[in-house]
Amino acid sequence: MQFDQILQYTLSGLSTGAIYALIGIGFSIIYNATGIINFAQGEFVMLGGLFTLSCLEFLKLPLWAAIPCAIAASTLVGMLFERLAIRPLRQPTPINLVIITIGGSILIRGLAMLVWGKDTHAVPSFSGDTPIAIGGATILPQHLWIFAITLIIIAVNKVYFYHTISGKAMRACSYNRRAAGLVGIDVRRMVMFSFIISSAMGAVAGIIIAPLTMTAYDVGVMLGLKGFCAAIIGGMSSGLSTVIGGLLLGVLESLGAGLISSGYKDAIAFIILLLILFFRPQGLFGKADSERV
């Protein structure tokens, strides 16, 4: 009995963890390309879910068409955000950028509240709600969708960043911006591109989780912060360590909520965040920076 329960908590923890991982990777991609921590990242998660809803209800699109539309719409918002809020800054300081991205997130959230209202909305799941039994635990088909899509996105990411010239160029921008310009990389274009990838990934995360948790104009705050935790645990890498960070966070949160008290669910994430920042600011798996001159 006890074991079944733990299995159940772990499985649902893994699926929320996968979502945190996707959001966390979004944070890391922008951070690595630009040095910006984009606190508006969570809002793209919210936009993904709510745009899907609009596509379904107002445009009467079938789900398979609504999803790409929603991703495209959220990505467009991400591009506008980069163009209007980030690019015009000449010589921005980190604190300017933090304030701007937080301001941007409040603005996007406010607009979303005007458009979609304050209610919580349900989004239909991708392929029914018949539970599937695994051992003594049950999961929903939507959980499988989450695992599969997360896996695909992570694999595509890996290929992009390590095996394509454009991905390597984006990494080059993060390691040495000036030198990137000197080999002919258009750094501003890369920054824009990082916002495109991140907002699209955030939207996907929002779309695949919306059927499980419902969505509303303010879901981005908490999901964004959890994704940020995942990225911090992973040392702001856009690879495997952030994925593990997200999964770890999801599982611990779910076990904590199940075995201790669901009131502590969010507290657990932030305790982990603080512990990591205090004791291993380079991330759980990161090596401390060393440079050879």
Binding site: A172, R178, A179, A180, L182, G184, V187, R292, V293
Partner: protein
């Protein structure tokens, strides 16, 4: 091939280049010498578009490139090997070289041609070939300098700008690098603008030189004349004042 007319460049309020003019002919090796802070690096950065000149004009083969961004300057065929190598440390030697050819990838040039050029770089610097899979940040300073030059060459530049390639390197390595520069001019006809603290070595390699002081060109001429110039000897070649006076 390159003509700089009366440029003025500022770092914030600091007037770093004051009415600097210079020119390079096709296939020439020209060196800029001068003390720290004389503006040598700034000239390269103004050409590369990192710190654009606020007035004046830079013309490269009939195109005005004064206000272009760094990537556009590379597109015109000017590559810079920056001061302090600036290789992409967490990337392998091969990845660094591939990124050097970034614009060629973007213009859909075939992989085969790019890899052939990578072999040419390995031929110039055999040590890079041994270390092609190694992360560039873990290599020695000399090897990183070779990589930085190799990376710039991957763009197939017509004009190569080099900023203090000898800095902090052992004399033998410096010799090797200068030898490669000579070969580049002989074999590919690459034009080179070389900034150096090591004025003697630079003037021996170069055809012509410019001497800079506090943002101004104070002297210019054929390299062998500059090597014999009393003022240059005193200030930059480390000859004792007395030695010159007694002659």
């Amino acid at each position: 091939m390159l003509r700089i007319k009366n440029i003025n460049t500022f770092y914030g309020k600091v007037h770093a280049l004051k009415n600097v003019s210079l020119h390079l002919g096709e296939g020439e090796i020209v060196t800029l010498i001068g003390a720290n802070g004389a503006g040598k690096t700034t000239i390269l950065n103004s050409i590369s578009g990192i710190i654009p000149a606020s007035t004046g004009e830079i013309v490269f083969r009939k195109d005005a490139i004064t206000a272009l961004s760094p990537d556009k300057v590379v597109q015109h065929g000017i590559s810079q090997v920056p001061e302090g190598r600036q290789v992409f440390k967490p990337l392998s030697v091969e990845d660094n070289l591939e990124l050097g050819a970034y614009l060629r990838y973007r213009s859909r040039e075939g992989k085969a041609a790019i890899h052939k050029d990578m072999e040419l770089v390995f031929e110039l610097f055999p040590r890079l070939k041994e270390r092609r899979k190694q992360l560039s940040g873990t290599m020695s300073g000399g090897e990183q300098q070779m990589l930085a030059i190799g990376r710039a060459l991957m763009a197939k530049p017509k004009l190569l700008l080099l900023d203090e390639p000898s800095m902090g390197l052992a004399p033998l390595v410096v010799q090797e690098i200068f030898h490669v520069l000579k070969r580049l001019r002989q074999e590919n006809g690459t034009t080179i603008l070389l900034v150096e603290q090591n004025a003697k070595a630079a003037l021996k390699l170069a055809d012509r030189g410019y001497v800079l002081e506090t943002g101004k060109v104070i002297l210019e001429g054929p390299a062998d004349e500059l090597l014999e110039n009393a003022e240059v000897k005193r200030a930059y070649l480390g000859k004792d004042k007395k030695e010159i006076w007694e002659r």
